[in-house]
């Protein structure tokens, strides 16, 4: 359990989601769907079979009206930093941790669909393709050419829009730079969020917005007690949300899914 992924790298990408700003509008989910070529089934009401890399949980503090409070928790892949649960269990190395960027990737053409990573991930951030991807007639013209669609029978998940990093790096290379500037590589969800609740960037760059935000007093992560060290941070001034984010022995559990 002592495996750390620290290498001499100037990059480690992370995300900060300000829950006080999030309205639960779902734009991040739609942007993610569109950017990453998700297919949409005719009936998407069964959420246990639908692919939603950026899922938004609606939670309440459990208090009766008029003291009821509601919050929305957008949840991408946490890109766990410590002994990444999915990476260590995959029998065929279809998922990998990049020590240069901290991004956990998924190789769809390598995945055998054993779903061991789905079992190991505590965040439910991994999705199995239960069906062949099918798009409505003509919609294939709108697909993102930078992102491969996934076939039936493989597991997939949020990649922090890794293809966008490749594009940004290409651009920087052409301009004679080796390092990316803050804001040059952002995920589709961060770019689309109408309230600016999602910030994405290089946590190792002390001048980056994420590096500053993760030091905020209200910053926390989901399920910190598990020790996976997620690279997705949340901000909230509401103590009940922070308490709801992690298991606490003996706490009277009042809040939960709305």
């Amino acid at each position: 359990m002592s495996e750390h992924h620290e290498v001499a790298s100037k990059e480690k990408y992370g995300m900060v989601i300000d829950l006080d700003k999030c309205t639960g509008c779902g734009t991040c989910t739609v942007a993610c769907l569109s950017e990453n070529n998700h297919y949409v089934r005719e009936d998407e009401s069964d959420k246990l079979h639908s692919v939603t890399w950026m899922k938004v949980y609606k939670v309440t503090n459990g208090a009766p009206f008029p003291n009821t409070k509601v919050a929305f928790i957008p949840r991408p892949c946490m890109h766990c930093d410590h002994h990444t649960p999915c990476v260590s269990v995959c029998p065929v190395m279809a998922t990998d941790y990049n020590p240069l960027t901290g991004i956990v990737s998924q190789i769809y053409t390598r995945c055998i669909g054993c779903r061991y990573c789905v079992g190991a991930c505590p965040y439910h951030a991994r999705y199995f393709n239960w069906w062949d991807p099918v798009w409505p007639e003509g919609m294939h013209k709108l697909l993102n050419p930078d992102m491969s669609p996934r076939m039936r029978g493989v597991v997939e998940k949020c990649s922090f829009c890794n293809h966008r990093q490749q594009k940004a790096k290409d651009k920087a290379y052409v301009e004679g730079r080796k390092e990316l500037k803050d804001g040059e590589y952002v995920t589709a969800c961060a770019e689309a969020c109408p309230t600016g609740a999602i910030t994405f960037g290089n946590m190792k760059d002390p001048e980056s917005a994420v590096a500053k935000l993760i030091k905020s007093p209200g910053a926390f992560r989901l399920l910190e007690k598990l020790g996976t060290e997620p690279k997705v941070y949340y901000l909230s001034s509401e103590s009940w949300i922070r308490e709801l984010a992690d298991n606490a022995l003996g706490r009277k559990r009042t809040g939960g899914l709305a």
Binding site: C114, C121, W131
Partner: protein, 412 residues
């Protein structure tokens, strides 16, 4: 009409009755194979598994039959390495049961992965950190060993044995069997452990996480322990069922008693180890993750009754029956103990497979339930049909039970 293929000196039912029996099981197997083809064609959306229950009935069946199939390697170890002479009477049958269990497990695993055509990636791109990699390698190698152990028995069929090449091969295989038994024990030991380790290393799933015994999760050892204590009881149970169906005594009662006694004492040890494990899990592992023991159980399907049934009813009680000679020597008590012990290990595998995933890890999430679809039940049923066919064929045409003739002298 098949008399020439039946071993000499033993009585078998008429060809009509036998082929009717085979037709029945072939029908069940055919239906199950059709279901399997449906799944291969349409995909795993034919199951009730989902993104919460990535593991379901098939993995439970897989782990269950592998644990129950442990009677093969453990009996082989006792017969060829420890030299428990009483077990020579049922080692052939134990090998056949093991062969059925392991080949079934491999077939179901192939069906259970989303990309069956990429099954070989497990050998070609192995992640040495993954317990599943060890499972894939060990289960394949041990299946090979079981096949090698089964082949000489097939070669001993009266007709095949008449062939000089088959005769020589069979003889040489027998000479080397102790080596294969030892290799099989080693391989099986590791893969039983790896199956347990698969769950024990999921450190972000507190229901299953058990790491900390040097470099191993101790579920590694619990799975081995439970398999070697319950696998032999399954061997005894199937032998008793076969004796009941054929209305013959096929192995000396002493052989069953000896294996049952060894299993009983091992089960005692396992029950103690499992109790200590449960206590430590409840008092140390769960609190460290902000959880309580009570939170691990929910409602009826995932209720608190599970550990009591698993450890108490299906652990303590069969262990006591098996170690008390008076009870062990009674066929009904012995059968009851074997049923309970075999059920207990399958229940244990179900709990590790399904409840681990049903338990909400997020404090704001809820419990989900899973019930297998008819397609999953049908393909699981295939294991029983396949087993019945192999056992029926082997019993009819192969000299499986060396003492059958002595135990069933022809009526004068």
């Amino acid at each position: 009409m098949d008399r020439a293929w039946i071993p000499e000196g033993v009585q078998r039912c008429g060809a009509g009755a036998f082929f009717s029996w085979m037709a029945l099981w072939l029908f069940v197997l055919g239906a199950a194979v059709s279901t399997a083809l449906l799944i291969l064609w349409k995909g795993l959306n034919q199951t009730n598994m989902n993104d919460y229950f990535g593991f379901g009935a098939w993995i439970t069946v897989d782990l269950g039959v592998i644990a129950l199939g442990a009677g093969a390697f453990f009996s082989g170890f006792l017969t060829y390495v420890v030299r428990v002479k009483e077990l020579k009477a049922l080692i052939n049958f134990a090998v056949i049961i093991g062969f059925i269990c392991y080949s079934s497990a491999l077939l179901i695993l192939t069906l259970d992965i989303g990309q069956p055509l990429r099954g070989w990636f497990g050998y070609w791109f192995p992640n040495i950190h993954s317990m599943l990699t060890e499972v894939i390698f060990c289960i394949t190698l041990y299946f090979t060993v079981l096949t090698i152990e089964y082949v000489p028995l097939i070669l001993e069929n009266r007709k095949i044995y008449a062939n000089p090449v088959a005769h020589t091969l069979s003889h040489n295989f027998h000479e080397a069997m102790a080596i294969f038994a030892a290799i099989g024990t080693f391989l099986s030991f590791f893969h039983q452990g790896s199956l347990g380790g698969m769950y024990g290393v999921m450190y972000a799933r507190p229901f299953a996480f058990r790491e900390g015994f040097f470099v191993w999760p101790w579920t590694f050892f619990l799975f081995i322990f439970s398999a070697i204590s319950t696998g032999p009881t399954f061997t005894v149970l199937v032998t008793m069922i076969l004796q009941k169906v054929t209305k013959k005594r096929l192995v000396p009662r002493e052989s069953l008693s000896v294996l049952a006694k060894i299993a009983g004492w091992l089960l005692c040890g396992y029950v103690i180890a499992k109790t200590v494990d449960t206590y430590y899990w409840a008092t140390h592992i769960l609190p460290a993750r902000g959880l309580t023991f009570a939170e691990q159980y929910h409602g009826y399907q995932y209720g608190m009754w599970l550990p009591f049934v698993e450890i108490g009813l299906c652990g303590v009680i069969p262990a006591l029956i098996l170690i008390i000679r008076r009870l062990r020597e009674n066929d009904k008590w012995l059968a009851l103990a074997c049923v309970l012990a075999s059920t207990g290990v399958v229940l244990n595998r179900f709990i590790f497979t399904v409840q681990t995933l049903a338990m909400p890890v997020y404090p704001f999430d809820k419990w989900y339930t899973y019930f297998p679809s008819w397609q999953e039940w049908m393909t699981s049923l295939a294991v029983i049909a396949y087993g019945a066919l192999i056992i029926s064929l082997s019993y009819r045409y192969l000299p499986v039970f060396p003492y059958e003739r002595d135990l069933n002298p022809p009526a004068r």
